[in-house]
């Protein structure tokens, strides 16, 4: 077991973890943050996307031990004082979710995308979300949500 300390959604978290424990399972099981989902085992689907030191990463492809000393933001850490983050609000208004399973991953990927490119074209959005898969929406409204969030200046 290895001791790690990291900041998750602004709060300090200390734990002993097996080196092989993936960050996504650490978040879900040790910290009880069940919002981040596991959707595949080949780092393809992005359902597990969180922010690690401000950048989107697939938390199924990071060991918790690698995140020692880092800051992690999960979907639970986005809303401020209970108010939905502009990206969350945009997904709601554009009907950018159906079953919701891929949604936290898409929202976090979008936050990161807009941080790096605040005014993306549709093509940049589609390529910028290549790391996230959705079976329900056909992506159309997800793209609209990202565009709406960009307009809202998030």
């Amino acid at each position: 077991m290895t001791g790690i300390t990291l900041t998750v959604n602004g709060s300090r978290a200390e734990a002993d973890v097996e080196p092989r424990q993936l960050l996504v399972y650490f978040l879900r099981e040790q910290l009880g943050l069940k919002g981040t989902n596991v959707g595949c085992d080949t780092s393809s689907c992005g359902a597990c996307t969180v922010l690690l030191d401000g950048e989107s990463v697939k938390s199924c492809t990071v060991f918790a031990v690698q995140a020692d000393g880092s800051e992690v933001t999960t979907i639970e850490g986005l809303a401020l004082d209970g108010e939905l983050h502009p990206v969350q609000q945009a997904f709601h208004e554009q009907h950018g979710l159906q079953c919701g399973y891929c949604t936290p991953g898409f929202v976090m990927a979008t936050v990161s995308l807009l941080n790096e490119n605040p005014d993306p074209s549709e093509e940049e959005i589609r390529h910028g979300l290549e790391g996230n898969l959705c079976r329900c929406t056909g992506y159309h409204n997800i793209v609209r949500a990202v565009q709406a969030a960009a307009r809202a200046g998030s």
Binding site: L22, D41, V57, T61, F63, S112, H127
Partner: protein, 269 residues
Amino acid sequence: MIPAAFEYVRAGSVEDAVELLGRDEDAKLLAGGHSLIPLLRLRFVRPPLLVDIGRLDDLRYVREKGDRIAIGALSRHAELVRDPLLAQACPMLAQAASGVGDPQVRHRGTIGGSVAHADPASDLGTILLALDADLVARGPSGERVLPAADCFTGPFATSLEQREMLIEIRVPRVDQGTYLKYVRSARDWATVGVAAARVDGRVHVGLANMGATPLRARAVEQAVADGASPADAAAHASDGTDPPSDVSASGEYRAHLAQVLVRRALEQL
């Protein structure tokens, strides 16, 4: 899936990493993890010890080194995409880095990790081979410069010693170069990739996923040197190659794609 158990240790320096690798002959380096961790999760590999070099931040840089550009081996793909020096000095590499994986992968994956992983379909590995890059490795007996041509020995195999670590990649300045790849879908690995560049006046061509390693299309290069047109030179695209047949494509189709992409790449030079 869950990886098999392993010991973990974090290296504080390159020397540290080299020393830690010596603890077990099957120990492996963990950088960005985006080549290794998927293999671990499917239990295709089970190293007993991982040496984490992910925090060796002084190996993340792009700078001039004589007439070459030196890239720290732990530079992440996303950093290469936005590096101003690379954009000016060797834009094809920055362009190819922007197509590796997806944004999340690019936030973590490193160029050194890509090279060491030695996927025959690797975009970056193919470009480095095409550009005759130099790979700088440090091991227990010190530092050495490994030409890219001598690096890739087989599928997912390099001539790096078990206790060697890549620390720097050196590429020439290239203002005329392009990397084209055919993919079944946007997030897929290259079905076939072609790197073409003018280096010191001579045209170099590299092929991804046309054999057990990234390959140089020497016959194409010779044809171009002899004055052949792009189409005529491209007819030699699959000379000396052994393109795999798999779920993505047959060897025959790969050979065809190579010809088309080589011609298109040469036309851009």
